[in-house]
């Protein structure tokens, strides 16, 4: 069970998308796990042949526990599968199931199962002689009930943000950035393409942030075990608010290397999946920095709380038309407030300022972000 965020302790197994004997490639989604932040497609981090599936639906699995065995190159998956003892029973008291034939159920337990819509074949008996009791049926019904996602997500956000405020010595910087050129350039682009190819300002912002990070790599990565570990790419966590409350911040990978058109396609896909609860494990675990864009909510400035173990968060507020002085003349221009929250254990205000200056510079050359 992979850790899909600093705050994750375990996940509930939902289903397999692969079977024993099947070849799997690194990064392939092979199963679905329910976390406090919704259902996540788990991608395998090793290539090989699936030898044995150990996790079963409904099981609660701690981070780090084995879910499946994989035979790597040169290994015989059948031998591996045969060498492993069967997985232990998951629920119930551990009493062995009846040896064979039909399941023993008391009439009262059978009635209760019908009332609760529980499949008796899926119930683990705990009574003497492997008989299913009313208590077993009720236990199975409780396990079947979906977890309260709203409360779970609020708990997850609370845990991560409390840890952030406890452990991370934040410093905050803000800069007004004139985005008139960037937005005009984008509007010109959008007027010339069909609706499906229109690019949102949010996508341009992400590209600008990713490219600006090249100047200050110490804002991009993780603080773990008392030391900073730089990110292996500009994997931007995109803060996505969910209808009905809560938020997730899954990653868009290698944002600095993508064309704006590809980035927009990726962003649409990510937002759509995040809002329907279908993010992938790498997207949950990989963000090296988070970007929050509250512009749509009509606020000017957002001072973000860093998502540990990341070391920085970039906030961009709404654009508003303001008087701006250019070459001695006052002109109307669209302005945004860009903010940086960063970890003082890793960087100082001087470096943070350099990031915001670079971000400003890039917004003045939108063509370079295409």
């Amino acid at each position: 069970m992979p850790s899909l965020g600093a705050d994750m302790e375990d996940g509930s197994f939902i289903e397999w998308h692969a079977e024993p004997g099947q070849s799997v490639a690194r990064g392939q989604a092979i199963c679905v796990v329910e976390t406090q932040k919704g259902a996540v497609e788990v991608e395998i981090w090793e290539a090989g042949v699936l030898a044995k599936l150990i996790a079963s639906p409904g099981q609660k699995i701690p981070v780090g526990q084995v879910m499946a065995l994989v035979a790597t190159a040169g290994e015989d998956w059948k031998a591996i599968a045969a060498a492993v003892p069967p997985p232990p029973a998951v629920t119930g008291s551990g009493a062995p199931p009846p040896p064979s034939g039909r399941v023993k159920v008391s009439p009262a337990a059978r009635r209760r199962a019908e009332e609760l819509g529980v499949d008796l074949a899926a119930v683990q008996p705990s009574g003497a002689h492997g008989a299913i009791s009313i208590a077993d049926v009720e236990l199975a019904a409780a396990a079947k009930k979906p977890p309260d996602r709203q409360a779970g997500m609020r708990d997850a956000i609370a845990a991560a943000m409390s840890r952030s405020k406890r452990e991370i010595p934040h410093y905050y910087l803000a800069s007004e950035i004139n985005v008139e050129r960037a937005m005009a350039w984008l509007e010109k682009h959008n007027a010339a393409v069909p609706i499906g190819e229109r690019v949102l300002f949010a996508a341009l912002q992400l590209k600008a942030v990713a490219c600006a990070l090249r100047e200050t790599p110490e804002l991009n990565g993780f603080y773990q075990g008392g030391a900073f570990r730089p990110g292996t790419g500009m994997h931007l966590g995109v803060a996505v608010s969910l209808r009905g409350g809560g938020l997730v911040a899954p990653a868009l990978h290698d944002v600095d290397k993508q064309s704006l058109a590809d980035l927009m396609t990726g962003l649409k896909d990510l937002l759509r999946r995040a809002r329907s609860g279908q993010v992938r494990s790498s997207e949950m675990a990989d963000p090296t920095i988070t970007v929050t864009n509250l512009g749509d909510l009509g606020v000017d400035t957002v001072f973000g709380v860093i998502y540990p173990p990341q070391v920085a968060l970039v906030g961009i507020g709404r654009s508003t038309v303001k008087p701006w002085v250019t070459d001695g003349a006052i002109v109307p221009a669209r302005i945004v407030q860009a903010t940086l929250s960063a970890d003082h254990r890793v960087s100082d205000g001087m470096r943070g300022a350099r990031f915001l200056v670079e971000l400003d510079r890039l917004f003045q050359q939108p063509e370079s972000l295409a």
């Binding site: 509007e187 959008n190 007027a191 069909p194 609706i195 499906g196 229109r198 949102l200 300002f201 949010a202 608010s241 209808r243 009905g244 962003l267 649409k268 937002l271 512009g295 749509d296 909510l297 009509g298």
Partner: protein, 85 residues
């Protein structure tokens, strides 16, 4: 394609429901901005326009977004666009 005002209104509402399935149109003020009432961000708004384009064939340019603020105003605008494509 000739569409009645009611048909256009329904196409718009269906497009909004595709991104905001919980929206309750009996509670919505048709003369107030829709986006604020239904928490529709710029991504949702673009998605709604894509649905609308599929349903009634009107491609709303960014320069006309200001005419799509309220439900009533949006229907007025779309009727004009359908009359003079």
């Amino acid at each position: 394609m000739s569409m009645s005002r009611d048909e256009v209104r329904k196409a718009l509402i269906d497009s909004i429901l595709a991104v905001a399935p919980e929206a309750d149109f009996s509670q919505l003020r048709p003369d107030r901005p829709v986006r604020g009432q239904l928490d529709i961000d710029s991504f949702d708004f673009l998605t709604i326009l894509e649905h609308l384009h599929e349903k009634i064939g009107v491609d709303v340019p960014e320069s006309d977004y200001g005419k799509m603020m309220t439900l009533d105003g949006s229907v007025d605008y779309l009727m004009r666009r359908l009359a003079r494509p």
